[in-house]
Amino acid sequence: MSTADLETESPTSPATSMASSERRLGDSIFSWLSIGSGLLIFLTLAAVAVFLTTESLPAIVASREFSGTADFSLVQYALPLVFGTALASAIALVIAIPISIGIALFISHYAPRRMAATLGYLIDLLAAVPSVVYGLWGGIWLVPKLEPLYVFLNTYLGWIPLFAGEPTAPMRNLASASVVLAVMVLPIITAITREVFLQTPRLQEEAALALGATRWETIRTVVLPFGRGGVVAASMLGLGRALGETMAVLMILAPGATFSLHILEVGRHNSIAANIASKSAEASGVEMSLLIFTGLVLFVLTFLINAVARWIVARSGPKS
């Protein structure tokens, strides 16, 4: 929804002018609570940012880029991690978004109305599973099950760079991690998409149906355009989770640090969060600072992606 809508709704509505003093008190308390919360978040998050920056400063100062002598380079260390994180999250979203939209449509427009709440609840359950359990399930149960699929993809679709390379069992590769990430972000994307779809103006839908549109045509012409902004916002929330997910990636992926596109090969990629988790226990001093620097990079990465998403939402928001 654009800010233009809000401009028309400024506090100078007729209600305020005829408000009693009690009313004004309630209003000002409420508005200050809201603004206070905003400010508090501002302060807290600024504190986190300052904390991250100061903690990663030793690594930045000591790095080859700045000191010119150190044996480690910020870019060389962080870039493969950024690549791995982005690739894993992107694949997870490519898998999860269409399925989520499908589920949301199923719950909001296809399933019998009595069942809709229960079905929504079932999907929400997926969000309830702790990531440690996803890691256990993915590493022990899912990885062997995916092996035939990977062998198939590698043999017959190996000409696509993504599926090229030489996968070796156990398939603790980026593809497996992405599949589990996709399952983890599904409920997040579905939950918001579903709510947005349910808010589609009923009249418009009924009008479309009355004009003889099929159910799919109604969805394509009314529901999807209305929900597009919501879908993008939901996907971004899902992406936030996928980017920062630690335990599941840690327990499934055999890490490496390359720019390989071969997602079926093991030991080629790693994500920032998983790398921090697996290295931080034994790290101290500059090493730890370097890890926190990658955390800072993840911050920036998330922000950039979110900024792009905001821009998309602003451009394609519902025109209701």
Partner: protein, 388 residues
């Protein structure tokens, strides 16, 4: 909105005179045909299995159902059929990991949790005090208490802040300096969603160490603060999305009746959005209740119950699961293990740690399910009765 006219335009354009709808059970026939062809085809190339038959069968069904509908019902309805099948397929695909995951957790966890040794349900009433080596005993009472308390406090911190921030962004950040602040908050909340959980833990730790006189301080509230860092952005963004969905007409109607802004927000905006808000908050709770890394750093681990959020370490279910999983197989040099505190003798099992990890995972999921149902009941009581 110009959509209805588009539809009208399209419908009037294609409408073959022989178009008609067939009853739904025709889908069943095409489905069975698809499955049959899949089974025959797969057994010919010697790759028959339940999973492959279902996958190939579904894909064939898409094709067959679409072609059949195209011939009998016309292209528009064929497309409708195809999309319906795809949508149902998407739901089935999501159910698959859910059920396999739940099955794994329940089958591995429930037996240990319910038929726990030494007595049934001991797993939920006893702690790990005095449980060493491969002792086939012990439970998660202490960890459950810790998880509930820490999550409760994290919610107490995060939900008001998150909700008020969302209200601020949607209702107040409209012009002037408030708009600037709103942009800044949106910016920071966005960045915040990308905090790796372990960094939240480090920050929580650093924050309290800076404030408290004793550097060795570890307490439940530190974990709650660290979790809040992860929870607030989720609450803000979920709630913001839901509040923006509330139609402007409702607010305007309320203002027109002379209702003050704050009452409009509480009685109209929040109530209209309550179902979505509850879902969002439940998701946010679910997001943090399974976090391991920040809790390991801020609240540590103990083996017995600690009820006090402001003194001493606490055990939590996720850190417990992590600890037990990492402990791996136990060492059994003799048949029995003696509890050094109570002097009781327990049987020794090599798999005891892994068993406890699964049972604790089962417990955690059970808790989240109950919370979920509670939240849904509450939102059901609150939400206005709309047409659906």
């Amino acid at each position: 909105m110009s959509t209805p006219t588009t539809v009208q335009h399209q419908t009037s354009r294609h409408r073959p005179p022989d178009e008609r709808r067939l009853p739904w059970y025709h889908l069943l026939f095409t489905g069975l045909a698809g499955l049959l062809v899949a089974v025959v085809g797969l057994s010919l190339v010697d790759a028959l299995s339940v999973a492959s038959a279902i996958i190939v069968g579904f894909l064939l069904h898409l094709l067959l159902g679409w072609a059949y509908s195209l011939l009998r019902e016309g292209p528009r309805w064929a497309k409708d059929r195809l999309m319906a099948l795809l949508v149902i397929g998407a739901f089935a695909v999501a159910m698959f990991p859910l059920f396999s995951l739940l099955w794994e957790v329940v089958s591995r966890g429930m037996t240990r949790a319910i038929a726990a040794r030494p007595d049934p349900f001991d797993f939920w009433t006893s702690s790990m005090s005095g449980i060493i080596g491969g002792a086939d005993a012990g439970g998660v009472f202490h960890a459950t208490v810790g998880t509930l308390l820490i999550t409760l406090w994290a919610s107490i911190i995060s939900i008001p802040i998150g909700l008020f921030t969302a209200i601020f962004l949607v209702e107040y950040a409209d012009h002037g300096w408030r708009k600037t602040l709103g942009t800044g908050v949106t910016f920071l909340v966005d960045v915040m969603t990308g905090i790796p959980s372990i960094v939240a833990g480090l920050f929580g730790l650093a924050l309290f160490i800076a404030v408290m006189p004793d550097d060795s301080v570890r307490m439940g509230i530190m974990g709650a603060v660290a979790l809040s860092l992860l929870m607030i952005p989720t609450v803000v963004r979920n709630s913001e999305e839901m509040l923006r969905l509330v139609p402007m007409d409702l607010r305007e109607a309320s203002y027109a009746l002379g209702v003050p802004k704050w009452l409009t927000i509480v009685k109209v905006v929040l109530r209209t959005a309550v179902a979505g808000l509850t879902t969002g908050i439940t998701l946010a709770i679910a997001r943090v209740i399974g976090e391991t890394a920040p809790l390991l750093l801020t609240v540590g681990m103990v083996t017995s119950v600690n009820w006090n959020m402001f003194d001493g370490r606490m055990a939590t279910l996720p850190t417990f699961i992590n600890q037990q999983y990492r402990a791996g197989s136990a060492n059994c040099m003799s048949e029995t293990v003696t509890d050094p505190i109570s002097q009781e003798v327990y049987a020794c099992t090599i798999t005891t740690n892994i068993d406890r990890a699964w049972a604790a995972a089962f417990t955690l999921i059970l808790i989240v399910m109950v919370l979920n149902i509670l939240a849904r009941l509450i939102s059901h009581c609150f939400s206005p009765k709309l047409s659906r």
